[in-house]
């Protein structure tokens, strides 16, 4: 059952919205009277176009996308701060938004007075605030300072207080917008713990963040927005990979998913990635120190000179080894329609037990940020080892000798 329903929502802003002065308004009025055009379509900026998604009870949804994609607009619309131009939005249950911490805080008032004010704005009644007051102060670690005017607080204290109040509102639905960018390490940990506590308590949440670890850790699903449109909706890992793929270059590069976004054709495209053992057999599991070949099938759609192929072996998101053809002076010229194979041979795969995946890609050249095509986690493999792991990552070939001097 959907707790948050966002159906075919669009939001438009007129670029010159709100004449900022009467003089401008008068000028515009004169213009209209004189027959000059009023605001036209070029003036309209669509922050969101036909966006639809749902969040079910106890789900945590991640909203990802580049700056300006419309994520904050989505949150504003859900929290009823702004109205959609078209479409339908429904939210069930009490909502709290960690969007503006310390809303209503006045520097001349004490921490205590500001807590009551802020909590009241967020919807708590007097008894509820009284009951939670001590908890709020304790979480913010401000017991000694709570009766001091807030203008004497450091910025860290200010943020702690703001977060603490918002976190104690006990909503059914929580919206979080990049608020964890401030605060020191320990406080950030506290915040994450708190958010986790919400999850375990079965609250519904939407999190907006650029921090992919946080999204990976906290979210069941993601919605990926770009320029106001939904590019992808679904599995967190997939969405994150898509987001971090080929954001080099101006336009979004990614796979076509469920027909939700169409992308420009690449000049070179990777068509398949497979792993081979020393006999050329296709495999997905290897032993430590075995040979392995990464084979990249590609096709050129335009004339390309000396592109650079790269391959990065990762454990999860951590890169363990990376290599590119640029180091090996490999040249080649490709015409549209050419299909080819690029292979990276590992004589001995010195990885220990674990699961690994590989990012592959083709760049224009070694120094260019322009990537023709990149696939993160294109293929996964497992390494089995006769050796004891002992917390290590790699096997370095070596031997011991012991003797008396």
């Amino acid at each position: 059952m959907a707790v948050i329903e966002f159906k075919q929502v669009s939001k438009a802003y007129r670029r010159q919205q709100g004449r900022s002065s009467l003089r401008d308004a008068l000028a515009q009025l004169m213009g209209q009277v004189a027959g000059r055009n009023g605001p036209d379509d070029a003036d309209t900026f669509w922050a969101l176009s036909d966006v639809s998604f749902e969040v079910n009870e106890s789900e945590t949804l991640g909203l990802i996308g580049p700056n300006g994609a419309g994520k904050t607009t989505v949150l504003k619309l859900i929290s009823r701060v702004a109205k959609p131009t078209s479409g339908h939005i429904a939210v069930g249950g009490r909502l709290s938004a960690l969007i503006e911490l310390g809303a209503g805080f006045h520097p001349d008032l004490t921490g205590r007075e500001n807590i009551y004010l802020n909590a009241s704005i967020l919807g708590l009644k007097r008894q509820e605030i009284d009951a939670k007051f001590d908890e709020i102060v304790e979480f913010a670690e401000l017991s000694e300072f709570i009766d001091m005017p807030v203008k004497r607080y450091s910025s860290g204290m200010y943020v702690r207080l703001g977060f603490s109040v918002a976190a104690h509102v006990d909503p059914d639905v929580l919206l979080i917008d990049e608020v964890l960018a401030v605060g020191d390490y320990m406080f950030k940990d506290k915040c994450v713990q708190r958010i986790n506590a919400f999850r375990e308590a079965g609250k519904t949440m939407i999190i907006v963040s650029h921090n992919k670890e946080m999204i990976q850790k906290l979210c069941n699903r993601v919605v990926f927005l770009h320029k106001g449109k939904v590019v992808f909706q679904g599995d967190t890992r997939e969405g994150l990979d898509l987001y971090h793929t080929g954001f080099a270059g101006e336009s979004l590069r990614g796979e076509r998913r469920n027909g939700e976004a169409t992308l420009p054709e690449r000049e070179m495209v990777i068509t398949d990635v497979i792993l081979l053992d020393k006999d050329g057999q296709r495999r997905n599991s290897f032993l430590t120190a075995e040979p392995m070949t990464v084979r990249i099938h590609f096709r050129a759609n335009a004339p390309v000179d000396n592109p650079v192929f790269f391959s990065r072996v990762r454990e999860g998101y951590k890169i363990v080894h990376g290599t590119t053809t640029a180091r090996f002076d490999i040249a080649g010229h490709f015409e549209p329609g050419d299909e080819g194979i690029a292979e990276a041979h590992y004589e001995t795969l010195n990885l220990l037990n674990g699961t690994y995946n590989i990012n592959v890609g083709i760049m224009r050249d070694h120094f260019s940020p322009l990537t023709f095509h990149q696939i993160d986690g294109a293929v996964s493999f497992v390494v089995g080892s006769r050796f004891d792991q002992g917390g290590a990552l790699v096997y370095l070939p070596h031997r011991w000798t012991v003797r008396i001097k």
Partner: protein, 261 residues
């Protein structure tokens, strides 16, 4: 409209807290604190008394100048200061307005209520003056709450309009003090209504709702008379109508505030 009022009632605690906040902040910031609420109407009264009893003689119909002016300046100060504080109430809280959902009219309305508290404080001085000048009291004093209510509706209406317009047109806040000043001269504060030429008087009283109110205040608290009902009624009608129109406009414009600021 009904649902708006209902929602406002749901948020009444916030409204109350915001009024308290406004008052606290004002007094914490100012050197004089509560004295300021009294100082404004009082100092203007002293000034007017000096000018209009010595430099330029105004016929107040036998009423002593200080109390003649204070009786009108008291409610006028409530009106004018509500407007001057209230115009910026939305724009100066832009963080709140753009990020959190709550009935935004709480901001301008709480300004009006905070100024009303100032009014009550300054009214104490008036009571003292009444004793000093042996002002008669009569049953018409019972109408005072009614007048106050009408004035509150009028003031709230103007503040709602001004604060909403200020969001869209930022230079409204410069226009407002000017308009308020002119408005004061068009209200029978410095001079009694009897000084307004006969042929203009009806127009004058009907167009300016504050005129009817100020005149009625004087009737009640100065001379223990009943107010002139035609003028009072027209003031009441305009005040109520203005409030309704202003509130309607405010709620229409409210969703757009977050888009603009």
């Amino acid at each position: 409209m009904i649902s708006n009022i209902r929602e406002l009632i749901h948020y009444r605690e916030l409204l109350w807290r915001w009024v308290v906040r406004n008052i606290k902040v004002r007094y914490k910031q100012s050197l004089l604190g509560a004295v300021w609420a009294i100082l404004q109407p009082l100092s203007t009264t002293i000034l007017f008394t000096l000018i209009f009893s010595y430099f330029l003689k105004i016929d107040t119909g036998g009423v002593p100048y200080p109390i003649f002016y204070y009786s009108a300046l008291l409610p006028w100060t409530f009106f004018a200061s509500s407007i001057s504080f209230g115009v910026q109430s939305l724009v100066s809280n832009l963080g709140l307005v753009t990020k959190i959902y709550f009935p935004k009219e709480i901001l301008p309305i709480s300004t009006v209520l905070a100024c009303f508290v100032d009014f009550l404080v300054a009214a104490i001085i008036y009571v003292v003056m009444m004793i000093l000048y042996r002002v008669p009291v009569g049953p018409s004093l019972l109408l005072l709450p009614v007048l106050l209510l009408i004035q509150m509706l009028l003031t709230a209406g103007v503040v709602l309009l001004a604060s909403a317009l200020n969001v869209f047109y930022r230079d409204i806040r410069f226009v407002v003090p000017l308009v308020t000043q002119l408005w004061m001269y068009l209200t029978p504060i410095i001079y009694p209504v009897s000084q307004v030429p006969e042929r203009f008087r009806t127009l004058y009283m009907i167009v300016n709702p504050m005129a009817g109110l100020i005149d009625s205040y004087r009737h009640i608290v100065l001379t223990a008379d009943w107010p002139q009902y035609p003028y009072l009624l027209s003031s009441a009608a305009i005040s109520v109508a203005l409030f309704l129109v202003a509130y309607w406009y405010f709620k229409r414009a409210e969703p757009v505030f977050a888009d603009i600021i």
